[in-house]
Symmetry: none
Subunit: 214 residues, 4 copies
């Protein structure tokens, strides 16, 4: 099946796409690695094989670059996650487990987008910047999705009615983010698959050895 008539595949558009991709990937990697404030545009540009000027050509400012990264993280990680949670039909505990499972799976191949979002939620605080607001927005969506699951779970008797929704959702997000960060921090030191399994098993079953009935 040969390429259709398209006389020439628009070289400039391809170049543009490629440059933007290299810049965003480099930015993701460096921000995850060193933090937003600690990494310079110089470094990012070099890592992408371009110059600072190219970043401004495509993104106009450092903060705007960050905003683009957040947009990507939302599109590639958060949107699918929330859609996934909405689609699956399972008891609340299983849905919570799915939350962990979903990002873990995605995170194995492309950890930087998710980690960038998490790191920014921690680093960029009290700086009333646009990027900060963006992070808050995205997190609000995640919280809403989890709180919905919890509320429905409580209605259906799948979760203890005494569970405080907000606090529990906070716990879920906290565990999730902490886990991702810790995973990244310990790097090769731990077995990823084993870790993830431990996380949600613990989370679901509690850590105590179950006393045989009684």
């Amino acid at each position: 099946m040969p390429e259709a008539a398209s006389p020439r595949p628009n070289k400039k558009a391809l170049l543009r796409e490629d440059s933007i991709h290299r810049l965003t990937q480099a930015a993701f990697a460096l921000i995850v690695d060193k933090g937003y404030h600690a990494c310079s545009l110089q470094e990012i540009a070099e890592a992408a094989g371009l110059t600072k000027g190219a970043i401004f050509f495509y993104f106009e400012s450092k903060e705007n670059l960050l905003l683009q990264l957040l947009d990507l993280a939302e599109k590639h990680m958060v949107d699918p996650l929330i859609q996934h949670l909405a689609e699956i039909d399972a008891p609340a505990p299983e849905k919570i487990a799915s939350f962990f499972r979903f990002t873990s799976k995605r995170g194995i191949d492309r950890p930087n987008e998710l980690l960038c979002l998490i790191k920014m939620s921690i680093e960029n605080r009290s700086t009333t910047s646009v990027a900060d607001e963006r992070v808050v927005q995205i997190y609000a969506r995640i919280y809403r999705a989890i709180e919905e699951i919890v509320d429905k779970g409580k209605e259906r008797g799948e979760l203890s009615a005494t569970l405080p929704t907000k606090e529990f959702a906070t716990l879920v997000v906290a565990t999730h983010d902490g886990m991702m960060l810790e995973w990244h921090r310990r790097g090769g030191g731990i077995d990823g698959r084993l870790f993830v399994q431990t996380v949600w098993q613990t989370f679901l079953d509690g850590i105590r050895v179950k006393q045989p009935n009684g």
Copy 2:
């Protein structure tokens, strides 16, 4: 003219103590709030009612100031925590719960020292600095303490023998740090006491409604 055994509290030393205290407290607060890289010595000095020069007089460099903060965090939070865990005589799950309980209690009054340590463990990565190494050391101590609890718990049958020690310890730390950060992030939005209670209840008992024996 020899220094007398001066019963009256040395005024100079007191002043010195006070200045150092104000500087470290200001630094703790600002680093927790904005991150190490995002806050300048100027800000810290101003918040302490002193000038940049004073910081260099007492700490010699920005990194050294951070090191002092880490030392304080270790002395005031980590040392007591580890000693506490070593002293109490309880089953492993209970000890894990104590871990959460202990820092939560301390964190209510003086959250900044612990949060500073946690934030630094996330922000300062891949920068092979002395401060980074210091953070790693401190975290290693915490991990060791938890892994010891887990191993003993498995020996005694208090924890499932199939629980992978390292991964589980990672989970504990992750949950703990994530929880602290989330708590701080959500500020007044959530009920602290309720949140902490939720954390370790969930962690200990699992989130599922227990089927009445059967």
Copy 3:
């Protein structure tokens, strides 16, 4: 296939002409408004509905664009002015008045070319650039024309013989340029026609109420 004697107006040439015209007009307007150094080629190109590249295609450099503007200003404003002054047959004071009258009239329809020249004579100083030299050249022509009028006026007894030629010419140019700038600066604030009239009446008759003979 030889070029025909093409009676139909060459389309390419027209397009070319049009683009150049739009660029120069945009440049005139922006330089008058913000000054040469404060306005970027980006702005000029955008205002002309083209891109930076087009400017380099037609003008090769920012300075060369300015040179072209100066050429236009000379051709459209200075050349006709000098020719006009040479042609009219009147006493020196009347010729001086004509100087003001002429540029005022022209300036009403196309103020930017004259203003650009004046502004450049003020902004671009001590920068030994080609454009600067060009400005000096043009001003030298104007000075020469006025000094000629003054000298002849003195010869003919139309002007006081004690009037220092150079200094008086300087005064004429100063008043003229200052007036144009002030006119532009105050925008709608003053009545143009009334202002111009005031200028040369004052200049010619002096500002004092004439004592009735005696």
Copy 4:
């Protein structure tokens, strides 16, 4: 007469004063010479024998430096001028002449402050900056003073009642500014004293040879 008791003449304050003075003088000179946008802080600092950092230490930003210059120009040139005009008791034409005479005299020793103000009134247009507003404010004061003189002059019959106040004031300012700029532009080329004399003689008496009565 020995220096009074003052134990030591506060070296730091003197140093401060001196550095600020050198920086402002350098800034005045370079801005007058090349324009605000065309001269860099690097140049200014070098001309003052300091570094860029020193400028930020004392002035915080380039624009703020300019604001300080404008303040100085107002204090040293405009305030005295307006006070002078208010104090002298003379017919309106003579007061107008005093306006020229006063700034001319001051301008001989310290031309840069006045020229900086004038140049900024021309260069900084349509940039809604704080500095621009400052310039407008200062000019408004000058205009007010002149318009007052004109109005009173018309009341007392010293000036033609048909003279439009606003337009005439504009003319005065225009002539004044143009004259100052031209004087600066032509540098050594013209005789300052002779020029000034020509200006206000012309302005006062008109340029025509007075016909002997009738």
